[in-house]
């Protein structure tokens, strides 16, 4: 079973939950920018949460199916489809996904998942390294993607709707919760006292922010050290960068703070010129928020698990 890409969209890549375990070789994690939307899309079609799916950026693809399949889109709202619920796409039907109307990134999960070669244990596309995913690149017109064995719903589609989901509403003005970074005390106040604008020069490696320059009180050069998804580093120009999925494994710039894991899906949905503020929380609070989020996802997982069966 294959699907054919008739239109690729703006930047459509194959991702699974990321390539971990190879940071010591300098390999970035990659994977979906918004892991929550990604996992929910998979759950809605009876897949494992880690199953490879498509990350869609700003404009969706047009895809032809050669067999009946369940699909779901989660994340940014896309014109042309109702998000957060499964749909049955019929054999020969073209799924035409439009532009994002809120947020930036949507996830298209197809029941059975997308089958590509495992590179270092993962199917995630690493664009800069040109490996992983589909031929190490974003999808193009004419590409044929093979799929795994799909599942079918036990009941009708009408009963399916993800309501009160753990996907927070996307906003063009939001506050991100952070914990302190190693060089936090070296900076004058500024991170928490202003609103930053998201620069158009942002991508899967990181979001660049623009605001009143953050002043570092010391000029000591740092040796490179580990960074995480969400690390806010401040280069010499004082304009912070939030590192994201494709970021390199090491950073040499001062680390002023780290966005809490629970708020990273919101970062993934920020678009150019959106406004961002930061608020500081304790590490224990960050862990508690994450625990609550995982609990909500586990309830959805349990609720859905009984409702699918494998088709012949």
């Amino acid at each position: 079973m294959e699907v054919k890409i008739h239109k690729a969209g703006l930047l459509t890549t194959v991702q699974d939950l990321g390539r971990t375990g190879h940071r010591s070789s300098g390999v970035p994690v990659c994977g979906p920018m918004d892991t929550v939307a990604f996992r929910l899309a998979n759950l809605l079609v009876g897949n494992n949460e880690t199953t490879a799916a498509l990350e869609i950026t700003l404009l969706g693809p047009e895809i032809e199916f050669s067999e009946d399949r369940l699909i779901a889109v989660c994340g940014a709202q896309l014109s042309g489809i109702e998000v957060n619920r499964p749909h049955l796409i019929k054999k020969g039907q073209k799924l035409n996904l439009g532009a994002c109307t809120s947020g930036v990134r949507s996830y298209l999960a197809i029941s059975g998942g997308i089958t590509t070669e495992l590179i270092l244990g993962s199917q995630s596309t690493y664009l800069r390294g040109s490996f992983g995913g589909f031929k190490g690149r974003a999808l193009k017109q004419g590409d044929l993607l093979s799929l795994g064995k799909g599942r079918t719903l036990k009941e009708g589609l009408a009963k399916f709707y993800l309501s009160g989901s753990p996907i927070p509403p996307y906003s063009s003005a939001l506050t991100l919760r952070v914990t302190v970074g190693a060089q936090h005390s070296e900076f004058a106040a500024g991170l928490f006292t202003q609103s930053f604008k998201v620069s158009p020069v942002s991508d899967r490696m990181g979001l660049r922010l623009q605001g009143k320059a953050l002043q570092r009180k010391v000029s000591k050069e740092l040796t490179s050290s580990a960074v995480v998804c969400g690390t806010i580093q401040v280069p010499a120009d004082g304009q912070p960068i939030i590192l994201m999925a494709d970021a390199q494994t090491l950073g040499g710039y001062p680390q002023i703070a780290h966005v809490c894991a629970v708020d990273l899906p919101l970062v993934a949905q920020l678009k150019a010129l959106d406004a961002v503020e930061f608020s500081l929380i304790a590490l224990s609070h960050a862990h508690e928020l994450l625990r609550q989020r995982e609990h909500e996802i586990s309830l959805i997982r349990e609720g859905l698990s009984e409702r699918f069966y494998f088709s012949a």
């Binding site: 971990t20 190879h22 010591s24 070789s25 800069r128 490179s224």
Partner: protein, 243 residues
């Protein structure tokens, strides 16, 4: 949190809510690189579900963890991880007064380099700044056993310490858009090799035909933290045959 056991100090620092950094000192201090490797390898042998990834870099080891996968009832995932790692460090001899010995035979990896201005655009300017002939520069660059202090920037890119102070050269003011794969460069007090064609700001003095990163290898990078490296000068003819 800080613990002093005999002479080796270990400190912990949170790196966001899903990672932490263990500091054992500066990578250039005697024994620190060995201790880093012993700790990283001890952590790798453990099968704790909450450990996601381990990254040794300079005098630190970063541990990436999943706070959700900690044992039930864990009050503070961070404190739990620190205590657990500290116990492992003690058990594996990382904090002992005597530098722990490594299981791995420390045999330097030999990297053949063609030092030629056609393959290293900055060869002449680095030599001129150091007030050295090209021959003397090559001799100096190939006479040292280097240590890998970090791997990153790009997949498989080694930061090599041990460069002769005469060859320390500041990075380029404006990085190049494209550095050829295999380029050997000098950035400040480090030397290194670009495994891929990437943008880069180091001074290029030559090129190796050797592959430093391959996704089909179990561990895709040729070099890892703690490895020793020596450079060997080869001619343009040897370089083209090798390629």
């Amino acid at each position: 949190m800080q613990v002093r056991l005999r002479t080796q100090v270990i400190t912990f620092c949170a790196l966001g809510d899903s990672a932490l950094e263990i500091k054992l000192g500066s990578a250039s201090e005697t024994g620190v690189l060995e201790r880093i490797q012993v700790l990283a390898s001890a952590l790798r042998k453990e099968t704790a579900l909450w450990i996601i990834d381990i990254l040794p870099v300079y005098g630190t080891v970063a541990v990436f963890y999943n706070p959700i996968k900690m044992p039930p009832g864990t009050a503070s995932p961070y404190e739990f991880a620190c205590t657990w790692i500290k116990a492992l460090a003690v058990k594996s001899g990382v904090l002992a007064r005597r530098t722990p010995t490594l299981n791995k035979r420390a045999k330097p990896v030999e990297i053949p380099v063609c030092y030629d201005k056609s393959l290293g655009q900055d060869l002449e300017s680095v030599a001129a700044k150091a007030k050295l002939s090209i021959e003397a520069l090559i001799k100096l660059h190939t006479s040292v056993t280097y240590h890998v202090h970090a791997v990153g920037f790009a997949p498989g890119f080694p930061y090599l310490a041990g460069l002769s102070s005469k060859l320390h050269t500041p990075r380029l003011q404006t990085p190049r858009q494209k550095v050829p794969a295999g380029s050997v460069g000098i950035g400040g007090d480090h030397t290194g090799v670009y495994p891929f064609s990437t943008p880069g700001g180091w001074n290029l003095i030559g090129q190796t035909p050797l592959t430093l990163f391959d996704i089909t290898w179990d561990s895709p990078a040729l070099l890892h933290v703690g490895d020793q490296v020596i450079f060997k000068a080869i001619s343009k003819e040897e370089f083209s045959i090798w390629k």
